[in-house]
């Protein structure tokens, strides 16, 4: 089924105003209101003729600093200065966060994309892990790396980072850490490497090996 036809069924179920359709040559998607996402997903999975049995991918997105004009002028992420200290910025992040759901139906062989957008300070969305079990880890990952909370998630822990990690690295305003558990994390150039050989160390043999 074509995305537009799927969207028409979806919006008939959710009612006017709960979802918007964004036409695109490469990938069209439906922008759904945050409160109705679980309802929409359940409808897409259970309706005969749609049967989206598989959640292919669930991605957290930080839209902060996105260049809407498509000129590639988005705000750059923070890295490390030349001397190895973390970069800082006075800019206050105010962009929205988002989630994208990519669905696939094995029985009908069609795909569909749902997207959410919500303000940064209200980063909580209903879970879909009771609809697709695979969402459990995907949502844990989105919480871990993007800082989006999933309400009703049975196991809302971090998954890739350790429990005591501070911050969510994929946020655009994430500042690189200076150290972790007293291990310096400074991205120093090789010349400043504290473990580099001393100046008076015997010179190595630079000639390439034979053969």
């Amino acid at each position: 089924m074509e995305p537009k036809a799927i969207f028409d069924l979806l919006t008939a179920h959710l009612g006017e105003g709960a979802a918007e359709y964004r036409e695109n040559d490469i990938e069209s998607w439906a922008c759904v209101s945050v409160a109705r996402i679980a309802d929409a997903c359940r409808f897409l999975r259970d309706t005969e003729g749609l049967e989206f049995g598989q959640l292919m991918c669930l991605s957290g997105i930080d839209w902060d600093g996105y260049d809407e004009n498509g000129k590639g002028k988005s705000v750059a992420i923070l890295g490390y200065e030349a001397d190895g200290t973390p970069e800082t910025s006075d800019r206050v992040a105010d962009g929205e966060l988002g989630v994208a759901y990519h669905l696939y139906s094995h029985t009908c062989d069609h795909k569909f994309t749902l997207r959410l957008r919500f303000p940064r300070d209200k980063a909580t969305v209903p879970t879909v892990s009771d609809i697709w079990s695979t969402a459990r880890w995907h949502e844990r990952e989105a919480w871990d790396l993007m800082g989006i909370r999933f309400e009703g998630h049975p196991d809302p822990r971090r998954i890739l980072l350790s429990e005591d990690w501070v911050g969510h690295p994929l946020r655009k305003d994430y500042q690189m850490p200076d150290q972790w558990l007293n291990v310096p994390l400074r991205g120093q150039p090789y010349a400043n490497n504290p473990f580099a050989p001393a100046d008076d160390a015997p010179a190595g043999d630079d000639t390439p090996a034979e053969g």
Partner: protein, 391 residues
């Protein structure tokens, strides 16, 4: 040590084995354990030999490659894809460049597409050989490991001759591949290897391992993933096909030159037990090696002349603004990239949907009620790579 997990209280009060009082134990399998295929930690709650609860703990290899992607341009990130599934790196390259090309609509020269398919299928064979080898090792078969590694070595040498690296190749770029064929008899060497593998080596493995009575006893009817569970948990690749679902991105969501090629998609049929058991997942990989051999032969026969990349290699790629999810069939399953571009030379967001990440999760459900030794068989049959789970 007895568990103090409050979610599990009440277990000891029940009479599981009549006349025997039992108690749940916490047991750590991994992260340093040869049967977990990398730094995977499985936290088990066991009652004697029976596993009551499995909690995988992952993330030991996490390097946040998705964050790195936002700081480097599209071409520079190809090297990071090599390091996801380091046993089948070229298939990862292929997934990523396909995703970038979906947004840019670059015309890839036909010769490059053919070389991509040949190298990716060689890489898939190498990955499957490791899967067979380590699965056999988990089951106590030592000899197939040596045999499979011997054949993999030939593939590593062939790929080294075309791409320069031994294990990590960085072979593809958006718009083509980096190098044309070497100026020697590479093509005939590949064909010779493929023929040898089909006619001599695979029958050897089948005799040694596939139809070995002990191996069948250890793997048939063990850890059955049924069709619904596999789809619900997002399993893909040989794990999904082992459960009897005929789905392969190369056929169902075609990319590159796969629509022109003639190959079959093997699925598990429950020949030695039930559909979706460990043996089915294993045999799907063996049969996929045969199909990969067929693909390689066809792609090399059709190999056209011409350039191997559409754009200048040193220039960064500028990708028009937009977002697209693209999926390809890597050795372990469906490898997807969700790329959001703002029109610049760096991705605004690059989400990687890795196959092992989704395949491993099913252990939380299917691992329950297994013997500890069967869990080893189960993890082996899933064929996970931690570099890809942790990214």
């Amino acid at each position: 040590m007895a568990t103090n997990d409050t979610r599990l209280t009440g277990w000891a009060d029940q009479d599981h084995v009549p006349g025997l009082k039992s108690e749940l134990l916490e047991l750590n399998m991994g992260p340093q354990h040869p049967a977990t295929h990398g730094v995977l930690r499985l936290l088990l709650h066991t009652d004697g030999e029976i596993v009551y609860k499995v909690t995988p703990v992952v993330g030991y290899l996490h390097r946040c490659a998705e964050k790195i992607a936002e700081g480097v341009d599209y071409k520079q990130w190809v090297v990071y894809t090599d390091r996801f599934d380091y046993l089948g790196p070229v298939t990862n390259n292929h997934a990523y460049v396909t995703a970038v090309e979906k947004l840019t609509e670059l015309e890839v020269p036909a010769r490059a597409e053919h070389l991509r398919v040949v190298t990716a299928e060689l890489s898939r064979i190498a990955s499957h050989l490791i899967a067979l080898a380590t699965f056999g090792l988990d089951m106590g078969a030592w000899t197939p490991l040596l045999y499979c590694f011997r054949e993999r070595e030939v593939i590593l040498n062939l790929l080294e001759r075309i791409a320069g690296g031994r294990m990590l190749y960085n072979y593809m770029v958006p718009g083509g591949v980096r190098y044309d064929l070497p100026q020697d008899n590479w093509v005939s060497d590949v064909l010779e290897f493929v023929t040898m593998l089909e006619n001599k080596k695979l029958p050897d493995y089948n005799t040694l391992l596939t139809y070995n009575k002990i191996f069948i006893e250890r793997t048939s009817d063990v850890a059955i993933i049924d069709r619904e569970t596999a789809i619900d948990y997002g399993c893909t690749g040989p794990v999904l096909r082992g459960s009897g679902v005929q789905f392969d991105c190369r056929r169902n969501d075609p990319y590159s030159i796969y629509p022109q090629l003639d190959f079959e998609i093997p699925v598990g049929k429950g020949e030695m037990g039930t559909v979706g058991d460990c043996w089915d997942r294993y045999i799907v990989r063996v049969r996929e090696i045969e199909q990969s051999c067929r693909i390689i032969r066809q792609a090399l026969e059709q190999l056209p002349e011409g350039p191997v990349h559409a754009i200048e290699l040193k220039k960064p790629v500028r990708v028009p603004a937009g977002a697209a999810y693209s999926r390809t069939e890597a050795a372990k399953g469906e490898l997807g990239h969700y790329i959001i571009s703002d029109g610049g030379t760096k991705p605004f967001r690059n989400k990687v949907r890795s196959c092992s990440f989704c395949n491993l999760q099913v252990i939380e459900k299917v691992g329950v009620g297994q013997m500890v030794s069967d869990l080893v068989a189960f993890v082996g049959s899933l064929d996970i790579v931690l570099g890809e789970i942790d990214r």
